[in-house]
């Protein structure tokens, strides 16, 4: 056929179609997500001397992502989230020391233990909001830190756990000196859990989490049992944080007391703020930005690191509430509107 095809006029979208598109749009793959994962995969090939840093960025990103589920989606603030990271790390470490060296089942057991801890905490805090939640989570985090500090016989106290031996993955891939196995293992685990988290936030449950964030008073009045949702949110978030901790313990073959520390909880909050709250990928981008900056700036002058973090935080809160992801989105909209005018 050589006849010129006349394009059919685009059918005007009805408002009902637009209604469905709201959900399709919310769960679309954003280009930032694709870019992050492609960049992470490429960096493994391009920076063979930085594999440990890359793995740590991914692990910290998973931890920040678990935190984003609570604070960014459900609007539940917490300053003790490192507790679950630490519980996961110690579980994996103690398991391996006790002779259970198979890594994947180690991750699963760590996730379950950390998830149960999250469930227990949620029962305590589910009647609280705002400042009460912040104080309780902070308090529980500090308690756990001191408990681990004094329980030398189990946790090694200040020295932490070291000399953790992990069996080869599937009995095939042993953890090598350069961290090649470790980084690939980490990449796969974090990516799979990213897909899980993505699925959760785009489910009816995920929508209810946003509802809780947007108006916690209205939620019971539309039939949502708030306590049960808190319990599930804490459990899932804590389990993901536990996997992150367990991964770090496995690939570094050590567990430090600082894995439970307040600094880690605070860093998660900062990373999610910088990356963009309630976007999932923002947590990973924020973790990458934070850790790479820390790596570079500490080389320059370690004293100034806190100064830069403080400055960045103030600037982001004042001028870029949506974080890096929100900022990039706005930039894209601005460029498109310029181009349309031209």
């Amino acid at each position: 056929m050589t006849a010129i095809e006349i394009p059919a006029p685009a059918p005007a979208t009805t408002s009902q179609e637009r209604a469905h598109k709201v959900f399709a749009f919310a769960s679309r793959w954003r280009w930032e997500e694709v870019a992050f994962w492609v960049a992470a995969a490429i960096s493994i090939v391009v920076f063979p001397t930085h594999l440990v840093l890359i793995a740590q960025v991914l692990i910290t990103g998973l931890f920040a992502l678990s935190f984003d589920l609570l604070v960014g989606y459900a609007g539940i603030p917490s300053l003790g989230h490192a507790a679950f990271f630490g519980i996961g790390a110690y579980t994996a470490g103690l398991l391996a020391r006790a002779g259970w060296t198979e890594p994947i089942s180690g991750l699963i057991i760590s996730a379950i233990i950390a998830g149960l801890a999250g469930l227990a905490l949620s029962v305590v805090v589910s009647r609280l909001t705002g400042i009460g939640l912040i104080m309780i989570t902070l308090g529980v985090g500090l308690l756990l830190y001191e408990a681990a500090h004094s329980a030398r016989a189990i946790t090694g106290g200040d020295d932490g756990l070291s000399g953790i031996n992990i069996a080869p993955i599937f009995g095939q891939f042993s953890f090598d000196f350069y961290g090649r196995t470790a980084v690939i293992y980490t990449f796969i685990v974090v990516f799979l859990l990213y897909l899980v988290a993505r699925r959760i936030v785009n489910s009816p449950f995920g929508l209810e989490l946003k509802g809780i964030r947007e108006n916690v008073r209205r939620v019971p009045a539309i039939g949502v049992p708030l306590r049960k949702r808190y319990m599930v949110a804490f459990t899932v978030s804590a389990a993901l944080a536990g996997v992150a901790g367990a991964l770090l313990g496995q690939i570094t073959q050590t567990v430090a007391l600082s894995s439970l520390g307040f600094d880690r909880s605070a860093a998660a909050l900062i990373m999610v703020m910088i990356g963009g709250m309630g976007t999932l990928i923002g947590a990973l981008v924020g973790a990458a930005a934070y850790m790479v900056a820390q790596d570079r700036l500490s080389d320059l002058n370690p004293v100034y690191w806190n100064f830069w973090v403080g400055l960045l935080l103030v600037l982001f809160v004042l001028f870029a509430r949506g974080g890096l992801i929100g900022g990039v989105d706005r930039l894209v909209v601005w460029i498109r509107s310029k181009r349309n005018k031209a």
């Binding site: 637009r18 709201v22 009816p204 449950f205 009045a221």
Partner: protein
């Protein structure tokens, strides 16, 4: 007191805030499908009554009966699932969600899939279509994909009602549905309410006496936490005590 045809009844309902007795032995019945107005001067306990019936506040004493079943011990969300929904005098919405998201959330909850972590919302076409139909009924279909915070105030008032309707209530409590809306639009909101399906019993608080007399089938007058009287609009308008205490000389029915 609690006839089989009653959708909702309160029995000797009392609510004290410390020494302040806000509700005093309120015995109130709402027949099925009725359009019932709750009026009374400021501070007479109207909103408190809605809060106690809806479950936001626990009564000091007394019972709340929904379709013959005592629901006094149930939480707000359990009452919603039993068919008792409410709206708020001050917009209590989800600012950054779109109306279709907010209403779909309620629909999913009612359908029992609200706790599902693994189901794809995007593919829950039936729930989305049902939510859309409700928005259509309330003339919110054109605005369904705009963030709630960007909607005009009057539209937000309609969304208040849409959220409650999505729970498919048998009893709907509306706390000043037209509060703060200019007079020409408040008629539209009340018109939407009066055209709701017949099987929904509606209890609404409204200050505009003209609207009350136009849309209510029955009226209860609450004064100082006590039911002063109850009856059809004509009976209420003729009641000398109501005229004296509440309506003053403004009645022109």
């Amino acid at each position: 007191m609690n006839a089989p045809g009653d959708a909702l009844a309160t029995v000797e309902l009392c609510k004290n805030f410390g020494a302040l007795r806000v509700l005093r032995e309120v015995n109130f019945t709402l027949p099925q499908g009725c359009r019932h107005a709750l009026i009374g001067p400021n501070g007479s306990g109207k909103t408190t009554l809605i809060n106690v019936i809806g479950g936001a506040l626990a009564p000091t004493s007394g019972k709340i009966v929904l379709e013959g079943q005592d629901i006094t011990a149930l939480t707000s969300d359990q009452r919603v699932l039993r068919g008792l929904a409410r709206t708020f005098q001050i917009n209590t919405l989800f600012p950054r969600l779109t109306p279709i998201e907010a209403v779909t959330m309620v629909v999913c909850q009612r359908r029992g899939i609200g706790a599902s972590l693994w189901r794809s919302l995007k593919r829950s076409h039936e729930a989305i279509d049902e939510a859309y139909t409700i928005l259509e009924q309330l003339h919110l279909d054109e605005d369904c994909d705009r963030p709630t915070a960007q909607l005009a105030y009057g539209r937000q008032r309609l969304l208040e009602i849409a959220l409650a309707l999505a729970a498919r209530p048998k009893v709907l409590l509306l706390d000043e549905p037209a509060a703060g809306v200019p007079q020409q639009q408040s008629g539209e909101i009340l018109h939407v309410i009066s055209s709701l399906p017949d099987d929904i019993a509606v209890l609404f608080i409204e200050h505009d006496i003209d609207l009350v007399f136009r849309f209510a089938e029955r009226i209860t007058v609450l004064v100082a936490g006590r039911i002063l009287c109850e009856g059809t609009p004509a009976e209420i308008a003729a009641d000398p005590e109501v005229r004296r205490i509440y309506l003053g000389d403004e009645v022109h029915v």
